[in-house]
Symmetry: D2
Subunit: 362 residues, 4 copies
Amino acid sequence: MSSEFGCKVKISIFGQSHGRAVGVIINGLPAGENIDMDELYRFMARRRPGKNALSTSRSEADLPVFLSGIKDNKTCGTPLCAVIYNSDARSSDYDEFLDKPRPSHADYTAYIKWQGSADMAGGGHFSGRLTAPLCIAGAIASQILKRRGIFVGVHLASVGSVRDNAFPLFPGKELFEAISRKEFPVIDDEKGALMQAVIANAAAASDSVGGIIECAAIGLPAGLGSPMFDGMENKLAAALFGIPAVKGVEFGSGFNGSLLRGSENNDPFCIGTSGSIETAANNSGGILGGITNGMPLILRTAIKPTPSIGLPQQSVSLSRLEPEKLIIKGRHDPCIAHRAVPVVEAVTAAVLLDLFIEEGEI
Amino acid sequence: MSSEFGCKVKISIFGQSHGRAVGVIINGLPAGENIDMDELYRFMARRRPGKNALSTSRSEADLPVFLSGIKDNKTCGTPLCAVIYNSDARSSDYDEFLDKPRPSHADYTAYIKWQGSADMAGGGHFSGRLTAPLCIAGAIASQILKRRGIFVGVHLASVGSVRDNAFPLFPGKELFEAISRKEFPVIDDEKGALMQAVIANAAAASDSVGGIIECAAIGLPAGLGSPMFDGMENKLAAALFGIPAVKGVEFGSGFNGSLLRGSENNDPFCIGTSGSIETAANNSGGILGGITNGMPLILRTAIKPTPSIGLPQQSVSLSRLEPEKLIIKGRHDPCIAHRAVPVVEAVTAAVLLDLFIEEGEI
Amino acid sequence: MSSEFGCKVKISIFGQSHGRAVGVIINGLPAGENIDMDELYRFMARRRPGKNALSTSRSEADLPVFLSGIKDNKTCGTPLCAVIYNSDARSSDYDEFLDKPRPSHADYTAYIKWQGSADMAGGGHFSGRLTAPLCIAGAIASQILKRRGIFVGVHLASVGSVRDNAFPLFPGKELFEAISRKEFPVIDDEKGALMQAVIANAAAASDSVGGIIECAAIGLPAGLGSPMFDGMENKLAAALFGIPAVKGVEFGSGFNGSLLRGSENNDPFCIGTSGSIETAANNSGGILGGITNGMPLILRTAIKPTPSIGLPQQSVSLSRLEPEKLIIKGRHDPCIAHRAVPVVEAVTAAVLLDLFIEEGEI
Amino acid sequence: MSSEFGCKVKISIFGQSHGRAVGVIINGLPAGENIDMDELYRFMARRRPGKNALSTSRSEADLPVFLSGIKDNKTCGTPLCAVIYNSDARSSDYDEFLDKPRPSHADYTAYIKWQGSADMAGGGHFSGRLTAPLCIAGAIASQILKRRGIFVGVHLASVGSVRDNAFPLFPGKELFEAISRKEFPVIDDEKGALMQAVIANAAAASDSVGGIIECAAIGLPAGLGSPMFDGMENKLAAALFGIPAVKGVEFGSGFNGSLLRGSENNDPFCIGTSGSIETAANNSGGILGGITNGMPLILRTAIKPTPSIGLPQQSVSLSRLEPEKLIIKGRHDPCIAHRAVPVVEAVTAAVLLDLFIEEGEI
């Protein structure tokens, strides 16, 4: 019943989309860590709406205000609170949905859970806007990890049926950095152009598309995590499903691995160029038994097509229990997968920092 | 760092495969719940090795002994502890792997994490044997849920590229019950026969195959769960990744949903035959915004091919940091996906009971 | 490592005394609960400094701003965040203590824990100012409990050796209400006058005094709590020790009970006037085996004398490891026990609400 | 709702007094730690009944069986489970109390909580017998701490009004060791003899007495713990109230500190003989702001008089709601405070190990 994750580093998200502010409290950050505000702003800019023609026109400053936990831009050991005040909110757009829930949004489930008391304007606490404070947390976690040689990278692996290249066996931080600076976060820009065409086509049809995001982390020591329920995969999956629209999480070869034989899916051991133990493939995604093996951590998340589409849809009246046609007006993201890319990085970085600290590495 | 999951109903698993016992403690079970021991034994029998030619020859009684928490076969409110004593253990088979880790097993990550102190005979705490106490917990949770009209069903959705039928839009408890009584847990026995052929072929080639398990839950009230990090998907995924060999979890249309347009993936609302609100499709898998919507809950887990295969593999010597050929002797499951079927049901039932109680429904 | 307590209702406090704001996030509040803002302000006014000559001269509006979680003054089910912006902060007063820690404050332990990175101006995150957001949470919890017939009352049981009357066996909500409206929160105002004289004497001597706070809760159903580590006493004590300056917590006859014989300390059962089961004494403080028995819950907390005193004290230079005389300038509370009275009520109400909801009562 | 405590080192207790076994699961122990079984048995012998004329005549072997988590007497990193099988149980003695609850026992609260389903024979899960598995956990924690130079000591500070000497400002491990080897765990044996006379007198009068236990820990680094709700005092108190019959917990000068002036209660800083920072008094009990300051940690717990006494008492019939006289037959401990002494040590050691590991010290 809480919008919180993490054990040693606890991240608690609050806010409704059209309320006074959204924000985050982070408990358990190590003290004395410098926060590079420009780098943090750049991180946040990657998920910002209104960046290009593919995203909603709502524009916001989205600049966080730090209420606690830092002193002279350094963490001071006690809880960090950062808020983003809401400025550009038009709540009345959403009144219609109170009785006529939008398909595949949380309108109906929120109505049932909080019977008339939910504040669902703009999607309320379920809105993609809540990923802005997640990015604050992720940007901070990322900076702390980078200082320890751990880098998280992320790209849009597919939109509809158009696929980007996969990460190579040993992706480098330069690749991560390069993708993060792109307008459209893919490895192969030609594939990116095709993806954008798919999105534009869907938009032209008043429809939407989904995608898959691939995330990698390098520099992690072997030995992080635990067997059974407190392991790497458990914690990452639990947090990643907190990102709106995520409907699947897989590690390494994931669902495709179920199509392989053991002899194909197993990762043979080898001695790497530096003389250390590696594997010649990485179908395990860097995790075995819930514990990192020192290879790059690889995960993918499935992002469903934006449920807000311009086409007429079938809803019901909650008060009259009768079918109702629904038209969602206004502009909406025809795809949110590319905007969710930095969010997946943020959540992954936050979980990795948590486990890194839990193991006593910081 | 703990082999535990759940909030109100906490399930803690202990034991090493070749140690004295494996077992489970369950905190937070409601009091006064009858435990039908025969039904519990039947549940456990579904995952037992040695049931047919497709599984390992190790045979065990696997009958749990209840040390606490029940009185006259009724839960008494305080922690329930059940243990399964180990009888048929041959530890020396595993000595070789201490220095020569098996590819895609946890031998290497356990070695790094606990530097020489791990007890990895038979796979130690990472072994599939640890799913036996999980099934005790699941069988108990399942009985409690059934009394409230909630039923969990599960089938083997695919082995390699052979797919079973998917669950229908509204699966019934009779279907669940029928599958659970089959030797090979599929909906369509012809597909099941093909799957078994795939497994037998792999076995003949000293190789292994993976599969996908689909799970459904019916009778859940709408409104269970929470947005963001404490929701249905988060909790189910976190627990399901605790099952050895699970490398992916998805809900509803999951990864395939990323290929659809919003107009295809959205679930239109309708008024059901009983006059209540339903959706005409279930690509959401019964969950929106982390909260149940009253439709059947649908999830799938990817099970990797058994990493133990008879073919020669490439390992390394941990002490000498040199490549080493590895031959895993003895008989091993050419596929564990069919044996993991009841385990997925067990974990799902346990999580659902936890959330059901958390919402004050019991 | 987190400034948070509670299981179903999680309360997370943030802020440094002289930072931009202090505040609270509450996860898990029931939805649809009206928050009477005037009543909340009255609650908060009870702990406010500058109320009379016995308290520090720092004056603050202390009016909370609600950033999330409410809509039209009603809880909306998702996380509630309330902040109090700091206005009257003079940080340079505290620079001296960075190298010369004040005895029996947290200056030294914070220095060791966060080596130079702590923000200790005004006491930082350890300041009594952090009890203001605690009171926000407590005031909200209190309002929700009152609607269910549960009332929490509190009085200053002693200052130095002057003792107020104890609560009667069955205190009423009218008594709680009456005490809460007093300038000085005691049952017997003559004792209160004596206490104030003790405080004034200490102040005149540039010294300080401590006290004991007694808290009662009525209307609780029997059966709340659990044996061993998740019970009423465990949860209340864990939260109450989070109030700065609390050094002891006891229930019922507490430490004095160790002086009694069993025949004196045991609470004989009887049938109450309403025909229900009661006890003729309440040395158990309403809790047996961690579970409420339906009698009033009674607890006491020991508040140490304010460590900030005007008298010269012995410190050390952290940089030079040499003894140093220390004079704490400015005005300081000669006693904080009376200001902590509503804070004890706040924390108790918050824990009771948590357990009440955990048991499925709301 | 769970009989568990700890964050990194989680200790979960199970069992009913007259059930098949009581036991403990410990998650999160560091791997490779040797467990000296003889030392562990000695620890457990200190709480054993039947040791002398002052305790109950029930005799049990109480030797734990380790089901998991160790290999060759070394911890292996995964959950440790130890059980003590029950052998000498006579359940029918307790049938009478099902309808006629014993005053100041948990009979009534358990009845209300689990309406007829509780297993209360011998006190069920509330029994002092459940402290035996606590001592297993404490003995293990203690051995791990000792290897890091941290020692926990404990003595019976009072029985009724007879007081033992307090621990000196800097107690040594030799003192701790010496007390632990005594039949009656006091510093001053003459005081101990007086205490035993008090107990014998109470026994002769078919009555009982309570006491206070003082516990100290030395060798703790400064900087362990946190402000507010996750600190040393919070965690210790939460765990200590899990020991049956504990009704009060205080640190340093505790409740007595409320009688002192700040100038008396404050601990002046000084440079110790080794050149490090110390305080000249220890009214803070080694904890300021929830964080250790490097001085000995000092706490006291109040143990109520044994509620089972031979004198006739007033109960009620739960079924008939009428007053009933109650005579508790058989022999009962006239005092449990001396038997609780090692239990307080066990719980303190377990919490300290948890925090020590949480800080990354192991």
